[in-house]
């Protein structure tokens, strides 16, 4: 369904983020804006998608707790259940917005958009913006700490591509967790503290859910601890954790698994655990150079983003004829989809590198390019 070039697209890349436009002077709303906006629709609470300072926020119901923690208690946040359409109105028209689970982290949402009313001729296609997403055709639910990705039919799909290269095919997460637990067991037997680096929102809780608490105590860094109540409030079951206060660290030394954000690598905080071994939980750990670069002793290939088959599966399931690609290896994925699926594709520029950047806390090839 070629889009008539006379009407502007419903969603477009604007200086401050993705703009939803039905022809007015100002966009109707912004998706994941990095500048304060009157109305911000947030796909999920990661730092590169949710910024402070907007007047009003819209997000999914299970995502409200973590978003509120991150945006501050005074932020005006309105949440909607997955699959429940709601209306967003402006001076130039109205749009129907529906959130669907994106499978990325707690509360992460795909955003489906349709024009309901507009004063000028409008884009009549159905759009879906995936935000960061994770989908596996193989696993029933690869991530027990959030709702499973749900395919949504649309005409135009805006998809992320953090791992948009065919080298990325995730191993079975159960096997990866088994390896991580064995590694912990071995370190504990040798009197070493195991440190696993995981991004504070989502990855850390997913790692936590995969650990075997019978091996020893589990410690969490303060940055991760603050989000655990939000998970508990949404009914996600997580093992008991010890907070890594100075006093508690003594009891953790040599036996515990400690989950910490990647930024603490090489810090005095880390050194206070005595003899340590470090691991990193990230899809990038599939690549040897990424493990060796930071001299991680171990790499845990656990990702909250779809791998290559996952991305292709999402595109296929959507039935979209037009696909915009953003965040990561956008050029290769767009070109591949055009070449092999005959789709109309385009690259959506982003200002920020993906959250995967923060996962590895290092610069990343192909991103931000």
């Amino acid at each position: 369904m070629p889009h008539p070039s006379t009407t502007p697209p419903l969603v477009s890349a604007a200086p401050g983020g993705l703009a939803i436009d039905v022809g007015g002077r100002e966009p109707l709303a912004m998706i994941d804006p990095w500048r304060p906006a009157p109305l911000a629709i947030i796909t999920h609470a990661h730092a590169d998608h949710a910024y402070r300072g907007s007047e009003r926020y819209l997000c999914s119901k299970p995502g409200k707790g973590v978003l509120q923690t991150r945006m501050g208690k005074d932020a005006a946040i309105e949440s909607h259940a997955y699959g429940q359409p709601f209306r967003v109105e402006g001076e130039a028209g109205a749009v129907e917005v529906t959130f669907f689970p994106a499978g990325h982290v707690l509360g992460s949402a795909q955003v489906r958009l349709r024009v309901l009313e507009s004063k000028q001729p409008a884009d009549d296609r159905t759009w879906v913006v995936t935000g960061d997403c994770n989908f596996s055709a193989r696993e029933a639910n690869p991530n027990p700490t959030c709702a499973r990705f749900q395919p949504v039919a649309c005409d135009v799909l805006l998809i992320e591509s953090t791992f948009g290269l065919p080298i990325y095919r995730w191993p079975d997460p159960r096997e990866e967790f088994e390896k991580l637990n064995n590694w912990w067991r071995m370190n504990a037997a040798n009197g070493r503290t195991s440190i696993v680096m995981a991004y504070g929102l989502g990855k850390a809780q997913r790692v936590l859910a995969g650990l075997d608490p019978s091996i020893g105590p589990i410690g969490v860094h303060g940055a991760i601890e603050t989000l655990i109540p939000n998970y508990e409030a949404e009914g996600v079951e997580l093992p008991e954790v010890v907070h890594t206060t100075q006093k508690a660290r003594k009891g953790l030394r040599g036996v515990a698994m400690v989950i910490a954000p990647p930024g603490i690598l090489g810090s005095p905080w880390l050194r206070s655990f005595g003899s340590t071994r470090t691991s990193m939980a990230s899809g990038f750990m599939l690549v040897r150079g990424r493990r060796r670069w930071r001299s991680f002793d171990h790499g845990c290939v656990i990702s909250d983003h779809a791998d290559w088959p996952g991305l292709l599966g999402i595109v296929e399931a959507s039935g979209a004829k037009s696909v915009g690609v953003t965040h990561g290896s956008s050029e290769p994925l767009a070109r591949y989809l055009a070449q092999t699926r005959g789709l109309e594709t385009f690259v959506v520029p982003t200002r920020y590198r993906g959250e995967a950047e923060e996962e590895t806390a290092s610069n990343d090839a192909g991103e931000g390019d």
Binding site: L165, G289, R291, R292, W293, D297, D364, A365
Partner: protein, 537 residues
């Protein structure tokens, strides 16, 4: 293959030498002699006879995955390692192969050397079919010519010694020289009573870098031998007991037999008594000082057959400057003091001028030596060597606890400030980051490329430079990014030679980054003329 792949992963996943050693020792202890020999062979940095060209593997990968070439290229750019890229792209990694390393070696590696392309394709496809992703990765490393897993031969020596409860020095002596991936070879290395063969080089004793003033750390000048530090090829000359039966041999520190490249040294060595082993430096010599390193280089690269045919009129010649003796009349003299070994060297009446002992630098005070050291560049030497006269000849880089030992007291490298003009991805642990830089100097108001350099920056600096490169790219050509000529780096290098192969007309040796000069702008960088002046010294 399963155990060897696990060993590879174990070595690869730790930075601690002790853990790498334990992993290797465990492997050697439980592996069959044949598996152990093959593992030792490749871990020591040996390569297959004929490597499989990347093109062939690339073609097979496209065929099997059905992916377009540009997408494989984009994947490679992110992985930074071709063997790994293939392993990550190939479909259906199964349960993995249970075949032994020997079986894989004989079935899927050795035949590659003698097969045509069609047969090689079939062999590789069969191997891929039975292997899982990790095994495929290790297999690719082996057939493409090198494991490169951060293990040196001396670590393999120590691991084998640990596994078989042998003296590392004995294993080192047995393993120097030729290695074979055969059980016979492995048994000869690990057997209790293998006779020590004099034709094998002994482990070289290595010097440590002296960073402080010698008067502060080395004590009394009178106890130390000072010699010029030559920039040649460190070599061991071995004259067996019966030189007529067993010809002399010349081994480089890389444990390569370099005798064929320097036949005049072997010829002169026939005048030495049997059972002599000398340690020294092979050099080009010109008048009263070494010839530029380039002269030696041409001889090293020359094919063995033509090596002896030097033009008669060339006044430069090849010499061995001997500075130590390790065997005398067949006896190992490494355990006696340097003072005694130098006496033996004098007693030997070396066949000068081709083989001669180094002359001690007689300056009697540290201050005097320090100022003499400043003349190193004119003398075409790298500085001074300081060796304790009371010290024994050690093994490798071991530091004796008694304050003896060898020290290299080098002059600072030549330095220039150069402009970063191009960058490329690094490989291995730096994959995905721009770490391979090309530098330029000014010439008639234009920047002329003159050197590539990699190491020297801290991780934090590398990340900042990488970030800068991404934001300041002016042109991309394949993996190479041309950047705005803005960043200035201080480069150090060991020497400069005139070169017709370089656009700048000059080639630098061992260029490396000393410092990121954030205080300088591009127009403050050096001129090509400064480099030319250094070349003329």
């Amino acid at each position: 293959m399963r155990a060897f792949t696990e060993l590879y992963d174990a070595i690869d996943s730790t930075t601690a030498t002790s853990e790498k050693l334990t992993a290797m020792a465990d492997y050697f202890e439980s592996a069959s002699p044949n598996d152990a020999a093959i593992a030792a062979y490749f871990l020591s940095g040996q390569r297959v006879l004929r490597t499989v060209p990347t093109k062939l593997l690339y073609g097979l990968t496209l065929e099997i995955t059905g992916l377009p070439g540009w997408l494989v290229d984009a994947s490679y750019a992110q992985v930074g390692d071709f063997s790994e890229t293939i392993a990550l792209l190939l479909p259906d990694p199964g349960k993995g192969s249970d075949a032994s390393l020997t079986e894989i070696y004989e079935r899927s590696i050795v035949p590659l050397a003698t097969s045509d392309d069609a047969a090689r394709r079939a062999i590789i496809l069969d191997a891929w079919r039975e292997m899982d992703a990790r095994q495929r990765y290790v297999y690719q490393k082996l057939i493409r010519g090198g494991l490169r897993v951060g293990v040196q031969k001396k670590m393999v020596v120590r691991a084998i010694a640990m596994a078989h409860d042998l003296e590392p020095a004995i294993v080192a002596a047995r393993m120097s020289g030729r290695m074979d991936p055969t059980p016979e070879w492995y048994e000869s290395v690990t057997s209790e009573d293998a006779g020590e063969d004099i034709a094998r080089p002994l482990p070289f004793y290595l010097a440590h870098q002296l960073d402080d003033k010698p008067e502060d750390t080395l004590g009394n000048r009178g106890e130390w031998l000072a010699e010029w530090k030559y920039d040649g090829i460190r070599a061991q000359l071995i004259v067996p007991h019966d030189p007529h039966h067993n010809p002399p041999m010349l081994w480089s520190r890389g444990e390569e037999d370099v005798g064929e490249q320097f036949p005049e040294i072997l010829a002169a060595a026939r005048a030495l008594p049997g059972g002599t082993v000398l340690d020294g430096e092979v050099l080009g010599w010109e008048g009263d000082r070494p010839a530029p390193f380039a002269f030696l280089q041409t001889r090293l690269n020359r094919k063995a057959k033509t090596a002896g045919q030097l033009p008669m009129f060339d006044e430069r010649r090849i010499v061995l400057r001997a500075f130590d003796v390790l065997r005398f009349e067949g006896k190992d003299v490494r355990g006696v003091t340097l003072r005694e070994r130098r006496n033996i060297l004098a007693y030997l009446e070396l066949p000068a001028p081709t083989i001669a002992a180094t002359k001690p630098v007689e300056e009697t005070t540290w201050e005097g030596l320090a100022s003499l050291r400043e003349t190193s560049r004119e003398r075409r030497v790298e500085g001074l060597m300081l060796k304790h006269m009371g010290g024994v000849y050690g093994i490798g880089r071991t530091k004796p606890g008694d304050g003896t030992g060898w020290w290299k007291w080098k002059i600072g490298p030549m330095t220039l400030d150069a402009v970063l003009v191009m960058a490329q991805h690094g490989s291995g642990r730096r994959a995905g980051l721009y770490t391979d830089y090309t530098f330029a100097l000014w010439h008639d108001g234009e920047l002329v490329n003159f050197a590539k350099a990699y190491s020297g920056l801290t991780n934090e600096e590398i990340e900042r430079v990488d970030n800068w490169i991404r934001r300041n790219t002016v042109r991309r050509a394949g993996p190479v990014r041309e950047v705005k000529p803005e960043l200035v780096f201080e480069l150090g290098f060991e020497g400069v030679q005139v070169s017709t192969r370089h656009k700048s007309g000059l080639a630098v040796r061992f260029p490396r980054i000393l410092k990121w000069r954030e205080d300088k702008t591009a127009d403050e960088a050096d001129e090509l003329a400064s480099l030319r002046r250094l070349a003329q010294q």
